[in-house]
């Protein structure tokens, strides 16, 4: 039985642990926190997962919230050019519903599930010194802890990285008591992306958290602009009040829905910002042992396109397939590189899409405009969130984009 050490108990680490466990691998999982601490801690992300990623989870029987999670069927988009004026407002339909399960709920449950199935969990915030000794005791060591010193083991890939500093200042509030959108039919459950030109983005995601159904409010501010207003890390209530005041000024149509909303719990807020980066997948320790980086350890994107959890899910699936296909051959440097490259064939489009949406060129702005009156374009754009590789042959270059728009008009 092959012994594998997985460091980090997020979407990718736990998904890989649970799926390898199903195939009889001897997995040791190291998590900085216990399930109880995860459940009782702060929210970690917005984690909107689209149909393609959800279908991977379902194929492994890890879809434990299908009966309680709001099933989001459409993605809306509004654009504000003048302050408070809604220039565009349309929505596209996804091929299958998306859902967002608070990672406090999901990771705590998955960690317990892994243990109940006989997996070994060691609670410890892993350091490089720990890995230096541990890596040699396992056939393979996977680093899936996207925050902390271990990321430094993996060098920046300058050719695949665009940014050198955070592109957005991020803030999140989990709230409830939010009425449905008045303009949408009864029973509609939609994600809505609001773009405020020159200021940033606001994305609202119906989700499921520790208290049940909720609405996840995400604000993404261009550094130095009005949405970049949380670097003093206000308390939860103060943060939500600031979110409301910004909504009232810049997005009054959203303010109308949110004015009476309340935080779901005292740990339902988050403030952050990080530099999008692609890293090399193989980390070398002073002892000479090598470790494989996974998900946002090696491909970290800005959350503006909501790809983080989807990427983590896909990466864990590519790595699972790579490990199973390897049989009893050694997990050497070459295999690690190949396994990552298989994932990159997908992740490259995610990275390209996300970087494009952080600074949309003119032809992308044209796509958003055409979608206002052309449902095929709206649906195709929304579909890009579900599967960014579908954007490859029309979205990124102005000529191809014009050809596509002409073909559907």
């Amino acid at each position: 039985m092959r012994k594998i050490l997985i460091v980090g108990s997020g979407q990718s680490g736990l998904q890989l642990a649970l799926t390898l466990q199903q195939h009889g691998y001897d997995i040791t999982m190291m998590s900085a926190r216990t399930a109880e601490e995860i459940r009782g801690g702060r929210v970690m992300s917005t984690q909107c997962m689209f149909d393609k990623a959800l279908s991977i989870e379902r194929s492994h029987g890890l879809n434990l919230w299908d009966d309680v999670a709001p099933a989001m069927t459409h993605q809306g988009l509004s654009l504000s050019v003048e302050r408070g004026e809604r220039a565009l407002n349309w929505l596209g339909e996804w091929p299958g519903p998306a859902q967002s399960i608070d990672q406090r709920v999901k990771m705590a449950t998955w960690l317990e599930l892994f243990e109940q199935r006989g997996g070994r969990v060691v609670i410890h915030g892993v350091t490089t010194a720990d890995l230096n000794a541990l890596a040699g005791m396992y056939d393979l060591t996977v680093v899936a802890a996207g925050k902390g010193e271990l990321v430094q083991l993996f060098d920046r890939d300058d050719e695949r990285s665009v940014h050198t500093r955070p592109a957005r200042a991020l803030s999140v509030s989990y709230v409830d008591r939010v009425p449905k959108r008045p303009e949408r039919p009864e029973g509609s459950v939609d994600v809505w992306v609001n773009i405020v030109a020159g200021v940033g983005e606001n994305i609202n995601i119906p989700g499921y958290t520790v208290t049940g159904e909720c609405e996840i409010f995400y604000l993404s501010g261009i550094p130095g602009g009005p949405f970049d207003a949380f670097s003093d890390r206000p308390g939860p209530e103060e943060q939500w009040q600031r979110h409301l005041r910004l909504l009232e000024t810049y997005l009054p149509w959203e303010y109308e829905r949110y004015r009476d909303a309340k935080l779901t719990d005292a740990r339902g807020t988050l403030v952050g910002g990080y530099t999008p980066m692609v890293r090399r997948p193989v980390g070398e320790l002073p002892s000479g042992h090598i470790v494989l980086g996974m998900a946002d350890v090696v491909v970290a994107n800005d959350p503006v396109t909501g790809q983080g959890a989807n990427n983590a899910c896909r990466c864990a699936q590519y790595y699972l397939e790579g490990i199973l296909a390897r049989g009893n051959e050694p997990f050497d440097r070459e295999w690690m590189q190949q396994t990552f490259e298989a994932y990159w064939t997908h992740a490259q489009w995610v990275t390209k899409f996300t970087n494009t949406m952080l600074d949309p060129p003119e032809h992308v702005q044209a796509v958003l405009g055409v979608a206002q009156t052309n449902q095929a374009v709206a649906d195709r754009f929304a579909g890009g969130f579900n599967d960014p590789s579908d954007l490859a042959d029309w979205f990124f270059e102005p000529e191809k984009c014009q050809q596509y728009l002409a073909s559907v008009s």
């Binding site: 317990e112 060691v122 609670i123």
Partner: protein
């Protein structure tokens, strides 16, 4: 190391919680020393097993064997899963026992620091 795997629930009669969290202050010891076992262990685990013949904390093991804390935790949990090492309950296990917590507090107050 190809350890003899014993599922945690085999040791606890089907319960997986509360699980030992191996806090730095947790004490461990070898319940019944098996002279045949060390030969089947990796050098690091062997050293831990020998050292734990007298009761010792996770922190002390780390220092005495110059082994990073994370490594000690992983190897001790492997040995504990085999039943080779016993992890004594810490104050953490008495979370809801006010009387025990009171006794611990009394003991701490009597310490002259």
């Amino acid at each position: 190391m190809r350890s003899k795997r014993i599922r945690p629930y085999a040791l606890t009669g089907g319960r997986t919680r509360p699980r030992r969290e191996l806090l730095v202050e947790a004490l461990v010891s070898v319940p019944r020393y098996d002279p045949g076992l060390p030969d089947s262990l990796m050098p690091e685990s062997r050293a831990l097993y020998e050292r734990a013949r007298t009761r010792v904390s996770i922190a002390e093991l780390s220092v005495a064997l110059s082994m990073p804390l994370g490594v000690v935790r992983v190897l001790v949990s492997d040995l504990a899963a085999q039943g080779a090492i016993y992890v004594h309950p810490t104050a953490h296990a008495y979370h809801h026992d006010r009387e025990m917590l009171g006794r611990i507090l009394d003991g701490l107050e009597q310490l002259r620091i």
